[in-house]
Structures are given as structure tokens and as C-alpha cells.
């Protein structure tokens, strides 16, 4: 990672305003968003939006033709181009031809994408942004840091200073006064401008109309006062039918600003009369800039379902720490990384893609139903293919995949405490197990890995009366449980035995492939999949169980995906057969309880606990309520912490590559845990246990952190 990029992260983290403002916002946003969506079935709403947008993305040119026909029939001029420079030239020429000297703009991301302002200003035309946030940014000579709130990174003091410096001396940091100042200074510009430029939130092909939403009312002025209106519309704004505006207008304000509707929505379908009675000159520019190419990409077509609400930024644990500027460019956050890779260049996303910790919080709230983390991974994969896998990384994975050797290396590192930490080679291992970190204590590596411990376990399998036939489970350990926490594995075996299930530990099992997959090394991940499919012999067992959600997701979902993306189609049937048998520990235990095959002990002393959601358990396996329920059935009392589903900052090797970010994400989690005021945290992921236990230990906390499986093992008859 280049030093400049790391420095930009550190600068952002050290900016006290950012951390405070964004952190508070992210918390407040969750609540107000939930309130705005009250009474609405978000899943079906976003399914509808995704269908409408995906359909449009499949036929941009057809819809653009339709839009053009319908808009032109009513007197609008439509200009279509794939070339961003042609947009700048078209607008400049129009301005020159009409003798335009000043332009007012309402918000248009597309215009920022093509650096329109600079182009017009270079020709001596005055361009004023009129969205308050955009105006502040323009005056300050900065870039927007958030798609909806461009100046969210600035304090009122900074805004006052900017106004004083650039417009008129003596402005005080009083927000209502600053807003009034903006109104008074921009009003004459609206009245004087000969041209207004806007973006559009939706373009309806069957009617040739555009939809513009704002809260400030600036777009109404921009489209009413100047005699020329130019709207720059990215092709992804096209939809076919007028009635399909409804789902988008239902979701966009709720997701963007937690409003039921923005103050203003304007649907413009034709040139309307100007204030002097002449008809308005209305130009609509349909801009491609790689959107067509993107729509033909089977993976990335999905990203065109974005309605630019920015809710993915608002819930992102990384964005809420560093803000938008670290992402560079025009579009920020996870979706911004994807758009930058396309609208700019793939290599521009090389560093910013590494900011994503893959927690999945964004994809849960995305009204366009876009799997943002998956697309970020796909960027990572393509970058890895383009740049080739570094030799050290190759060597590192060969160690990871050799379980015995890996254990030996880890154990040696753990005993010696730090010898490999600085070694370039070791940096590519999932060495979160041994990396010295200031913010977290480390688990010691067990002298005997679980695979050896397992052989000594005496399994007492009591077949249950209701059980139709003897059952066997293949246990998939995963690295943490195997090497650092064998006692967690013992707990799993114990519980399953009590339910009448015999556990086998297939020796040939290796890494689940997550470290390779999350580094974009899909060939390695595929090899992991092949090795594990062979070793686990799914056909010989009833279940394949793991107590690590990341491994479970690997076995159940990623094996198939890895093999597909690397062309190993012959292995797919076996991968699918395996996936069918895979179940995460809590889900299995829950069904065993329901079948009456596991019973809680009587008279369990009630205890208070709080629960941390592991990203994969909640967002991919959707099983986050199960462990809560089981512990409550056991007689425990659940005290929810704030933002229980906010990532803990572990993210596999993320904690190693970006400790600067992992540490503050953990810090926030620890504060929430402490605020819950209970002596016990239960978690379903060994990785989160390691991160949180290590963090609490460093703080000298007495709060206990355990895998739910361990608590369950103690409490079953």
C-alpha cells in the first residue's frame, strides 16, 4: 500500500471533526432510516427497484432511443454521447453560441464525473454551484466527500472561514446565519444566469421526462429562471415506465435523508415558457461514459441499479471513520470504489478497494439491492489477475494450505512472540494470529492443534429416541479453532454427541479459502475448495458442521462461486452436494433442540449477556437470532448493546493490512460492549472472539468473551 494513501487514512483519522461528526451521524442515521421505512416492506420495495433498474440496464440503447424520440417530439433537444469530453464540448459550445456568461447549477454527480466546471471556467464562464453543500465545496476548492451531503466533513467554523475568505469578510460560525448568507449571495446569481445546469435522478423513456429531487429548492430556480436548461443524465438513470417512478421516489428520500419525500420533486417533460413568454431551450444530455460497457459485464451490471442514495456510506464502519476524501475521486464509499473503477479506471481502485472490510452492512440497506462487498471482491480479483499474484503471496498461501506446516510456523511465531512480524513473507499469511498489535492481546497458539486433540476425545454418542437413524457430522474446524482455540472444537463435539451425532474430523481438510478469496487470489481459493470437497466426503455424513461463520459461508456459498469464476465446472456438482450438507453450528443446535434431541439443564443460574453479531452469520447466513434465542431458552437474559451488528474490525487479514482502521473500529465496538453493562459477551465467530477478547484484555476489562457453543455445551443435559 503506498505511503501517500496510508497517510491520507491517518490524516482522516486524526481529523477530530470527521470522527465525531460521521460517527454520530452513522448512529443517528440508523434510527431515523428505520423510522422513515416504518410500514413499508423494504425487501419487496427494493426487489421492485432492482427489477426496474436491471431491466433498464439490459437495454440502455433501446430506452435511450425511446427517450430521445419522446422528448424530441415535445421540443426538447437530446444529445447522446459515449464520450465524456463531448459532453463538456457540447455545453461549452452551446454557452458560447448563446452568449452565456454565467451559469447556475444544481447538483449533478455526472457533471463532476466529467469535471465540467473546470472546463467552462477555463473559457471564462462563471459557474456557481447552488446546492449549499456543493457551493461550500466549490468555494473551498475541495471535492465532495459524500454523495448526498457533500460538505459533511466540514465544521461550521470552516464554512464561516471559507465564506469570509472567498465571498465576504466577517462571517460567524452560526448555521442559520450562514444559510441566510448563502441564500442572499446566490439569489442574484439565479436571477442573472443565462443557463441552468442540473442532473436528474430518473429519466423516463416512455414519456421523455426527467425527475429532479432537492430539498433546498435550488433546482426549481435553476430550471425556472435561466432561459436555457441543460440536464446531464447518466444512462443508468433511465427507466422505461412512468409508473415505476413510484418505488424509486419511495426509497430514495427515505434511504438518503430519512425523509418520506424531499421538499421538492420536479418532473420535467417538455420545454415550458420562460418568464418573458419565450419557450425554454431544454437540452438533455444522455451520457454513457462506460455505462453500456458496464451493463454488458455480467458481474457489474448490477451496480447500475444504484439510485445514489448514499445509505451504503452511512452504515459503512470504514466510511464513518475516515469519510469520503480517502476514497478520492467523485464517488465515495464502497459503491464509489466500484464506480471509480469503471468511470475512471480499474487501477484507480487498486488501493481504495482495500478499505472495504467486507462486513456487508451496506448490502443490507441498499435500495438497489446491490451486493457491494461482492463487487469489491470482484474488483480485487480482477486487479490480482491484471497484476499477477506476488511471489511472496504465492509462497505464503502454500504454507497456509499445508495445515501442519502452518501450525508449526504459527506456534513458533507465537512462542517467539514477534520474529516474523516484520518479515515481508509473513505479511501475506493470515497472521492475525501472531501479529503484534498495540490495540489487542493475542491468543497463544495451542501446543496441540485441534486435529490432534480430536483424536483423544472419547465420544459418547447416545442415539436419541426420536432419531430415525444414526447420524454423523463431519466437523470443519477452520484455522483459528484448529490452532488457537481447540477447546471451542471440544465444545462442539460434546454438544453434538449429546444429540446423538457422531463427529468425524476429516484429516485432509485445509484452509476454507477465505484469505485467498479476500485477497483476490481465486485460483488458490479454488484449490482450497477442491481439496476440501475431496477431504470432507460429504456423501458419507449427515451434516458438515463448522463453528466459524466465515468458513460456513465458504463451504456453503464461496466454493461454488470460486470454482465458477475459475472455470472448474466439473467440480460444481460435488461443490453443490457439499453445500447442501453444510450447516452452521447454531442453526443445527437449534433444530436439534426443536426435535427434542437436546434439552437444557434444569435450574440454570440466570445470567445477563450481550451478543455481538458476526458479519457473516448475520448478513449471509441470516442466523443471528438463533444463538440469542438459544441462550434465552437456557435462561440467560439478553441485554442488547448499541449497534450489535456493527463490524468488530477483524475482517481476517484486514486487521493486519489496515491496523490503523481495524483498531478504531474495534474501539467503537468495545465502548458499546462496556455500555451494555453486563459481564458476558457471546459471539458465534472465533475471529470476532479473538478480536474482542484481545481488545477487552488490553483495556484490563473483566468482561468475559465466549463462543456461544461453549456456553451451550455447559448448559445441555
Amino acid at each position: 500500500m503506498n505511503a501517500e494513501f496510508k497517510q491520507s487514512i491517518l490524516d482522516a483519522l486524526n481529523n477530530p471533526n470527521l470522527a465525531g461528526a460521521l460517527g454520530r451521524f452513522s448512529e443517528a442515521y440508523r434510527t431515523s432510516r428505520a423510522k422513515a421505512y416504518q410500514g413499508i416492506d423494504f425487501e419487496s420495495l427494493r426487489t421492485e427497484i432492482a427489477a426496474v433498474k436491471s431491466d433498464a440496464a439490459g437495454r440502455f440503447e433501446e430506452l435511450a432511443d425511446m427517450f430521445q424520440r419522446n422528448a424530441e417530439a415535445r421540443g426538447t433537444k437530446v444529445f447522446r454521447t459515449s464520450d465524456p469530453h463531448a459532453v463538456n464540448q457540447y455545453i461549452l459550445k452551446l454557452a458560447m453560441d448563446r452568449g452565456v456568461t454565467s451559469i447556475v447549477k444544481s447538483k449533478s454527480m455526472a457533471s463532476e464525473e466529467i469535471h465540467l466546471n473546470a472546463h467552462l471556467e477555463a473559457a471564462g464562464i462563471e459557474v456557481s454551484e447552488t446546492d449549499l453543500g456543493e457551493w461550500i465545496i466549490q468555494l473551498a476548492g475541495q471535492r465532495p466527500s459524500h454523495m448526498v451531503m457533500p460538505a459533511i466533513h466540514m465544521t461550521k467554523e470552516e464554512v464561516a472561514d471559507t465564506f469570509s475568505d472567498k465571498v465576504e469578510d466577517g462571517q460567524q460560525p452560526d448555521i442559520p446565519q450562514l444559510v441566510k448568507f448563502a441564500r442572499n449571495k446566490l439569489r442574484p446569481k439565479f436571477l442573472a444566469a443565462e443557463m441552468g445546469i442540473t442532473g436528474a435522478n430518473i429519466a423516463v423513456a416512455e414519456t421523455g421526462s426527467i425527475v429532479i429531487i432537492t430539498n433546498e429548492g435550488n433546482a426549481r430556480l435553476v430550471t425556472t429562471l435561466p432561459k436555457i436548461h441543460v440536464a446531464i443524465v447518466g444512462l443508468e438513470k433511465l427507466i422505461e415506465r412512468f409508473k415505476d417512478i413510484a418505488p424509486i421516489l419511495t426509497a430514495l428520500p427515505r434511504s438518503a435523508t430519512a425523509q418520506l419525500l424531499t421538499s421538492y420533486v420536479s418532473i420535467i417533460g417538455a420545454p415550458v415558457p420562460n418568464t418573458d413568454g419565450s419557450p425554454k431551450e431544454l437540452h438533455i444530455i444522455l451520457m454513457d461514459n462506460r455505462r453500456n460497457e458496464m451493463s454488458r459485464d455480467p458481474r457489474f451490471k448490477q451496480a447500475l441499479q444504484c439510485i445514489r442514495c448514499a445509505s451504503c456510506l452511512n452504515v459503512c464502519p470504514v466510511f464513518s471513520l475516515v469519510g469520503g476524501h480517502v476514497f478520492g475521486k467523485v464517488y465515495t464509499g464502497g459503491i464509489g470504489t466500484i464506480l471509480t473503477a469503471w468511470f475512471d479506471a480499474l487501477k484507480q481502485s487498486d488501493e481504495i478497494q482495500s478499505l472495504c472490510i467486507q462486513c456487508g452492512a451496506c448490502k443490507d440497506v441498499c435500495p438497489g439491492k446491490i451486493d457491494i462487498p461482492d463487487l469489491v471482491l470482484e474488483l480485487r480479483r480482477r486487479l490480482a489477475v491484471e497484476q499477477g499474484q506476488p511471489l511472496v503471496q504465492k509462497a505464503a498461501f502454500s504454507i497456509v494450505n499445508n495445515r501442519r506446516a502452518f501450525h508449526t510456523v504459527l506456534r513458533a511465531a507465537s512462542i517467539a512472540q514477534k520474529p516474523f512480524a516484520k518479515d515481508g513473507f509473513i505479511r501475506h499469511l493470515p497472521m492475525f494470529l501472531t501479529e503484534m498489535t498495540e490495540f489487542r492481546s493475542l491468543p497463544s497458539i495451542a501446543s496441540h492443534p485441534f486435529r490432534d486433540v480430536f483424536k483423544k476425545i472419547k465420544q459418547e454418542v447416545r442415539p436419541h429416541a426420536t432419531q430415525p437413524k444414526p447420524e454423523k457430522a463431519a466437523f470443519f474446524a477452520g484455522c483459528l479453532l484448529d490452532f488457537a482455540y481447540p477447546e471451542m472444537g471440544e465444545a462442539v463435539v460434546q454438544v453434538l454427541n449429546k444429540a446423538g451425532i457422531e463427529v468425524v474430523f476429516p484429516e485432509g481438510q485445509t484452509c476454507c479459502g477465505a484469505p485467498a478469496r479476500y485477497s483476490g487470489a481465486y485460483e488458490v481459493a479454488s484449490q482450497n475448495a477442491l481439496d476440501n470437497i475431496r477431504a470432507l466426503r460429504a456423501d458419507e455424513v449427515t451434516y458438515v458442521v463448522s463453528a466459524c461463520p466465515t468458513c460456513t459461508v465458504g463451504l456453503q456459498h464461496d466454493f461454488v462461486a470460486n470454482l465458477e469464476s475459475t472455470g472448474h465446472t466439473d467440480a460444481l456438482p460435488a461443490a453443490r452436494a457439499l453445500a447442501e450438507k453444510v450447516v452452521d453450528f447454531s442453526t443445527l443446535v437449534n433444530s436439534l433442540v426443536e426435535q427434542g434431541r437436546l434439552k437444557f439443564k434444569d435450574g440454570i443460574a440466570p445470567q445477563r449477556f450481550t451478543y455481538h453479531d458476526s458479519c457473516h452469520l448475520k448478513r449471509t447466513l441470516r442466523a443471528e437470532q438463533t444463538p440469542r434465542k438459544l441462550m434465552q431458552q437456557a435462561g440467560y437474559e439478553l441485554v442488547e448493546m448499541q449497534q450489535a451488528d456493527m463490524c468488530c474490525g477483524m475482517g481476517g487479514s484486514y486487521t493486519l493490512k489496515l491496523p490503523e482502521l481495524s483498531a478504531p473500529i474495534l474501539e467503537r465496538k468495545l465502548v458499546h460492549i462496556e455500555q451494555a453493562g453486563v459481564p458476558l459477551v457471546l459471539i458465534d465467530c472465533p475471529g470476532c472472539v479473538m478480536q474482542i477478547r484481545g481488545g477487552l484484555d488490553k483495556r484490563g476489562s473483566t468482561i468475559k468473551v465466549e463462543l456461544t457453543a461453549q456456553r451451550l455445551a455447559e448448559n445441555f443435559q
Binding site: F25, N70, A73, R74, G75, T130, L132, G133, I136, M149, P150, A151, I152, M154, T155, K156, V159, I175, L178, V179, A182, R183, L186, R187, L191, V204, T207, S209, N215, E216, G217, N218, R220, L221, T223, T224, F242, I245, A246, L249, T250, Q259, L260, L261, T262, S263, Y264, V265, S266, I267, I268, G269, A270, P271, V272, P273, N274, T275, P279, K280
Partner: protein, 209 residues
Amino acid sequence: MTAITATFEDFKLRAEAVGAQVEKVPNKSAALDFIAGVLLREGIADAPGARAVWAHCPAISSADREQLTARVPGIQFDVTRDNAAQAIAGISQMDWALADTGTVVQIADTVDQRLVSTLPALHIALVSTASILPNLPALLSRVDPRKTGYLAFITGPSRTADIERVLTIGVHGPARLVIVMVDELPSNKIAPEKTTSDKIASEKMAVSQ
């Protein structure tokens, strides 16, 4: 009747939640009394910088206009860019109201409708109780987008949260929105007249054919 009242209550709740003021009156003359009162309290007078602009309203007759100017000198019914920019209040009649978001909607093809509702700091919106619709889909099925040039939705006053996310009212548009819901108000044009641009377009088509 009860259904309509319930819808009005929903509308009022939503509109007030976003900072609009909602007043329900039985008929046009009560509406005009109310508006005249608001304007007088705002200090509307026939003096520079103290006037109000009133856009064409289907429900308001020329006799109404004369009466109004007699009661509140300073109301201008001839709306121009300049007098709207100087005015402190603007009045217009909206075509629909949406109960589930507290929104008022208008076919605003003629520019005076937009001038009076964007430039002055106070916007007074007349709307008929009978025009309340439950929601956006109900509206979209009623308007013909091929016949409207500019469909305008207004939900509460102009607002921003661009500085430190602090909600501030009245940026570029009106800081105050007063919605006067009239039970018996001649309802608006449901089928709008052709816009200038439509006429131009159809003339052009006639030429090219």
C-alpha cells in the same frame, strides 16, 4: 365523508411533521378571509419589498381579485420575474395533495406558478379537500406526463442540513409553507390545457409532415 376526513387528518399530520402549516376551511370565502389575515399579519402593503404575488388560480374570479386588493393593498395578480423576486409572499392553487407524505402537487407549466412558490419567503398554497389522494402511485396514474411540461411536488418548506447536518429551514425556496385546505373549492383543471411547447411541437410536426 368520514373517509375524506381521515385522509385529511393523515395529510395534516404528515405535512405538519415536515414543518408546513395546515389550515382547513369550509369554503372559498373563508379561505380568502384566512389568507388576507395571514398577509396582513405579514405586513403585506403596497410598498417596495412588501408586496405579495398571486398566481392564476382557477378558483379565484376577477371579482375575488378586486376584493382582495381592496382588503390587502400590495397583492399583485400580474406575476412577473421582477415582482416575484421582490415579493415576500406568494399564493397559488395546487392541484392535488398526497396524504401519505403531506405533499401538494401542481401542474406548473406556466411560469407564474413556480415564481410565486420559489422566490418569496412565504408560500400559501390553496388546495381542495376533494383533491387529496392517498399516495404517489394514485397521483401518477392520474397525470398524463405527455401533456405536462412541469409537474411540481412540494413537501414542507425549503430545507438543508448541509452544514453539520443541522436542519435549517428556508435556503433557496420559501421558509414558510401555509397550506389552506378548502372543502368547497372549484377543483382544478384535471386535464391541463396544452402547453406552449406542445403547441410548438405540434406545429413543427405539422410542418414536417
